[in-house]
Symmetry: D2
Subunit: 351 residues, 4 copies
């Protein structure tokens, strides 16, 4: 349920409504807008007597939210969400151009980097290269979900330490995966954005844990998740108080065998229609083959995505994981150039 | 198998090789190129003694084609195929700009029109509108494959007659579906491009029939067809002597329920990699919802498709079929404008 | 819509109602029952004024059929359909035990034979072997739908001739595939049951053609057909006047790669719930691997299927097609024995 | 890699080989057999020099295991695994018939109970009812993975306490789900079998945690997991030292919409072929509809499954979760009777 306040409602009136909602054993979620405040309500809303809220001073109207997801829905939050990712102050001269990356309307955000943290040197080289290209967010995994227990599982805490040092040195924002609740604090300390992998999209304990961390969450779509299930998982994070959720399409599982997964760009328009959350696309996992990454990256931009998650490696053919789908620096540079040219007629700016 | 002739081979030498191949009970397919001719061979090639061909005068080399599709593969035909669709001379002044549409590299071809031929007036109105927008190919079905026997099945021959008259009046090229071998001649007479629908992609008798018609074939991908199966169906058409095959992705069937089908743009790069055939995208059937058509149309262009098949209707809300996924004239005009702006940085020209 | 007649309605009253329905430009389908007759109506039923029918003498009640399929639905036809397949009189002594096979409740029907007619000797050997095992229906394809134009396409008319001769010699009923309308009469002449393959399940022209043939139709489920679409295809056959439709599940296409297709036994209970038509299972195509056929055949019986379509070959390792999924005679004999043992506690008799 | 010892190898020789393997920084897994011991080796086996092992006294041969899963494969462990589930001594008279349930060849094990622990009374009633039917393992969830954060999430620790008390009172073995590593010890204390849900099949941190618990693990197949991925997840549990893994098929996600999921019984034969682990089937989640549960339960038995996981509820229409797919006591009793009749000709005994 959504309580819309009058545009001239006072802060005291808003506070009073919040108190009434809490008194009903429900959770209020203040949603400040340009002209007036709205308050989302989650919990066992069916039991609420709307009259108790309608009579509060400053309340303009009550709106029933019909979708099963509430905070993630456009019904409750009409405007596109902009997720702001503050960056550590950058010592490198080029970093002067901003202290945060904002993902959302008008921009097209590039997050790039290797599949996994292999060693400090390759992370530093990649970070410096990306920074030189104007990219401010780097992805790299310290904890790697691998289908085989015998595959390289990531450097773990040592990988996080490398990421933290390179972040400090270069000012690059860090996007890295959290696989379990045990490592939540350690990952939150090293990361500017916490990634939840496709296989954990319905790891509800993990979602509840990150809902209590003050860092944006990049939520990958599960391999066989419907759009509704994906938004319900976003709702898990938001209902716990973390509203900074970024969706990421990375390919779903179908009968199709021409690529590693079937990158479902067609989910972008309905996701935008039903939800206000930004959505990125990961064409590296989506296609599984580096040659197919650039066309699908361009297509993601044209389809209305808010950015990309790209695997880039200094030496893809010797990567410890996902080499086949990683771009080398030269290919990445060419792709960035194509994206910039295409972004212009679409009224978008790369960041 | 592919026989590559020397660049200076004489026509007589080429003829002689063709005769030797026929003498082996195999089918030769001459593939003239810019600098030299190649000859594809289909049939029970495993039984061929390559030495009998290598010793023929003018033969440069023999190449074994490893893919199960031969004529459709890039192994046998390295350059992109351009499918030329000759148009009837146009009385309308704007038609002066050309007598054929070529689908292939450098261009981006729009084929638009209503799902089905409902009456002559609406077809004429649509044709004139499209022509005014610079579109030269119109789609419209006289025979409609409907999952229910009780749904509108199309106007049949009467629909073909309407298409033929409107084609003559406006000079628009006609793309229309053939559902069975009985109507092959009637459809071929009215159509400039014969469409094979998704449900008939593996109707092998129908494929063999159109392989003997001198009209380009638009071959839609089946709802659960792998890329290899799709190219094998193209091979059915080509092995019968009709090399003018245009692929068309129109969405596949997956667990995803956010759209009517899952439009698989990710098939474009591997299709281009494995085959030389042009590939169009049908975002109307792919999404099933008119609001989602424009973003997916732009994405198809960016992903490298050679054009679009779009449902446009003068009054979509009263269409006899597929109204929900049809654009009205105003929405189509806006989409064309967006496509033109996007085509430029991609080095493509709309036709 | 369903018109239910009184139990004491006279034949003249039934005739009168049929005439009234025809006068409305609709198609009546008389459905005689044990105690009373019902009349299904198909066509543009929405336009019917029910009062015109209710007032006819002998009419008990009118029932609106809500499913999109009508004649195939249990709403219109409550009792299980029994499809009777008359057999040619058998000269072989063992054939004495019956002149028809009935597919439906209480029985479990085995249809077995090679994928394709390879030559007369192997067909005769197989027919005699099967007959000796008490099997009365043999499957074998003269026309083979193959994904490659270069694969063995079946012996065609020559294959039909072989089937006809072996049928006459052994009294075995013949189940064989029809791929196109051109060969409808030839196949109908040689076959006791006309098979429509999975790839043709939505070849609507073909369905309309067999709806006018007086032979039972075995309708395989398409590779990505929903249950509703499958029943709609059955409706195409029934609405044309051929009510003897036998459904056949043969595996659908999913992401799963442990077998050729995913045999969907779970479709049996809902198919039985929604429709009165009998349903067979083809575990040979469903699994693609002979070792997996027996357990899935037993499971089909336990799940409530009305019978099996099985690939059996005198020498599977040298079959021209589908050898990997064909049972040899010994394996088939063992499977039959297991099926008989399992049928007993389920109250079913093999035929 | 598998080291096969001579049948007369001494315990000291086996110990010596274990020590050599550990000295190579690999993990040895002793696999005692009827006539001789084998030792599986996991870790970076590629780096091993086989000669160092071949020369050890008592070693008969070295076998390279080619599948990516090792301990879960039949290559390494030829005989079917029997998972023994010890039960608490039962005060009820009927409990006299055994102190453990063994899942594996020759038996067919029923695990039944409500979706979730709702209160102590309904759990006790269900346990006593099941016990009276000869069922010794009860399923019921204290922690419930729900797609919505606003749905009933289970009673948590309170639910575990109820299960522990009812277990003590009735002697029923308890199968209950573990959703996260935090609750591992609490669930292990209350459970006789730890269930890993479909959505957590690739929650690798959770798999590693249960690999260190001395309780059997019921590993449900993920909604879009291939058989190989499923066995790889079993391998995660086994490679950590917990060899008592029970697979459980519960339906996969496909385009099919006639049931909640597509119950994939066809995975049973290949799972048995590739792995020695027992496999159960959950027709309740697989179909999502109680009427479809009995036929699929019978089919699972016929297909070769080792048992069933069934949702049974004293009052399904008022269940807090999954009521539509739960059997009531009467329906469950009828199903048990049918299963017993069917088990006999298959040479299986219900337990």
């Amino acid at each position: 349920m959504l309580v819309v306040m009058h545009s001239h409602a006072t802060p005291q009136q808003v506070e009073q409504v919040l108190a009434v909602i809490r008194g009903m054993n429900l959770t209020p979620h203040p949603l400040p807008g340009a002209t007036r405040t709205a308050i989302g309500i989650t919990g066992n809303v069916g039991a609420v007597d709307p009259r108790l809220l309608e009579v509060q001073p400053g309340v303009s109207e009550l709106i029933r939210v019909t979708k099963p997801y509430k905070l993630a829905s456009r019904e409750m939050h009409e405007d596109d969400t902009r997720v702001r990712i503050p960056l550590t102050p950058t010592p490198l001269p080029k970093g002067a151009r901003g202290d945060a990356v904002v993902i959302g309307p008008g921009t097209f955000t590039i997050i790039a980097g290797p599949c996994s943290v292999e060693n400090e040197d390759m992370i530093l080289r990649t970070a410096e290269f990306l920074h030189g290209q104007g990219v401010r967010l780097m992805r790299a995994g310290a904890f790697k979900p691998r289908s085989s227990p015998y595959s390289f599982q990531g450097l773990g805490q040592q990988g996080l330490d490398i990421l933290a040092r390179v972040r400090e040195k270069t000012g690059m924002g860090v996007v890295t995966e959290l696989m379990d609740t045990e490592n939540a604090e350690a990952v939150a300390a090293a990361a500017d954005v916490i990634q939840i992998g496709a296989r954990n999209m319905q790891n509800f304990s993990l979602l509840k844990r990150v809902s209590r961390i003050a860092k944006p969450v990049l939520l990958k779509r599960g391999l066989s998740a419907t759009l509704e299930e994906w938004l319900m998982s976003a709702e898990y994070v938001m209902s716990g108080g973390n509203y900074n959720v970024i969706l990421c399409e990375r390919g779903v599982r179908t009968f199709s065998d021409h690529s590693r997964n079937t990158l479902d760009l067609s989910v972008i328009p309905p996701a935008k229609h039903l939800s206000h959350l930004p959505i990125l696309v990961d064409p590296s996992h989506g296609t599984g083959k580096r040659d197919y990454v650039p066309p699908m990256a361009l297509a993601a931009l044209a389809a209305g995505a808010d950015g990309l998650l790209l695997e880039v490696h200094p030496d893809p053919d010797h990567a410890l994981s996902d080499g086949a789908q990683s771009l080398d620096f030269a290919a990445f540079t060419r792709l960035l150039e194509s994206l910039r040219r295409l972004a212009e007629p679409l009224g978008r700016t790369l960041n």
